[in-house]
Amino acid sequence: MEKLINDLKEQIIEALSLEDYSVEEINADEPLFGEGLGLDSIDALELIVLLEKNYGIKLNDPEKGKEIFKSIRVLAEYINANRAF
């Protein structure tokens, strides 16, 4: 799980252009939206693309996003349970 969390941090930094952050600075339990990393709605769309591209997970229900994008740890748990590859 810790490796997946680290991979996710790297992928999120890259995909969302969070150049002010390093992997070490991102807390896996902090909220992704609102506070924490302060992501916005475009970032949410980018995360949906990332899930499909890197893990073969298609998120068809936007409401699901609210649940699984709570934090990187929650996202990693969801990927572990649903990944296609």
């Binding site: 995909a15 969302l16 252009s17 150049e19 002010d20």
Partner: protein, 215 residues
């Protein structure tokens, strides 16, 4: 007596030549950085923190930096100005982001368009970025034109000032494509008592020619 509108201040960035000029004075220079790295260096060295900068495409980064340095240097940093317009002219529109977007959708087997890139596939986004950053509520507009053209810029200025809601404008030429990212931004005001040079086609041309010839 009719009050002449004044060029209060201007900034110029040529990312290919790695230089930043404010009001004719070279204020920053590096060597051998590519366009993206140079713009990031300018941001980190001369600007306040604004993490959204990293999400912008090259065109918006250039426009954003021009506006930040212009407003800081001219002491015109106050936010929420309701009578300031923003007009940007360029030649290549949003082609840099368009090409990236095209690359992400041309292979049906690897079809992953990036929303973060897609939002920059319009040339007027840069005006919105500047307006949002500064809470400007005036007119914003973007024009496509073949090259820097002082006559055209002056006409845009005159047209903008026909609207009595506008008392000042950020007027800019911003061109970015491949290895080129060059822009100039003027702060021009028609408010009384402002110091500066009278705005004219000739003056807009003189400033540009000096910048281009100052190797």
């Amino acid at each position: 007596m009719k009050q002449e509108s004044k060029i209060i201040s201007y900034t110029y960035i040529d990312a290919e030549r790695n230089i930043v000029v404010i009001n004719g004075e070279k204020v920053f220079e590096t060597e051998n950085l590519d366009i993206k790295d140079f713009l990031t260096k300018v941001y980190k060295t001369l600007c306040d923190s604004y993490p959204k900068f990293y999400k912008m495409d090259i065109h918006c980064k250039l426009g954003y930096l021009l506006s930040e340095l212009l407003l800081e240097s001219s002491g015109n940093r106050q936010k929420g100005i309701e009578d300031r317009a923003i007009a940007v002219v360029n030649s290549s529109s949003s082609l840099c982001s368009d090409i990236k977007h095209q690359a992400s959708i041309e292979d049906n087997g690897n079809y992953f368009p990036s929303p973060a890139n897609f939002v920059y596939t319009l040339s007027n986004i840069v005006t919105g970025e500047i307006a949002i950053r500064n809470k400007y509520y005036g007119e914003t507009i973007s024009y496509i034109h073949s090259s820097y053209d002082s006559k055209y810029l002056k006409e845009i200025f005159d047209l903008s000032m026909v609207d009595e809601c506008n008392n000042s404008i950020l007027l800019s030429w911003i061109e970015s494509i491949d290895t080129t990212a060059e822009g100039i931004m003027f702060l021009i005001s028609k408010e009384e008592g402002k110091e500066g040079v009278n705005v004219s086609e000739k003056e807009l041309d003189n400033i540009w020619q000096k910048l281009k010839n100052n190797k």
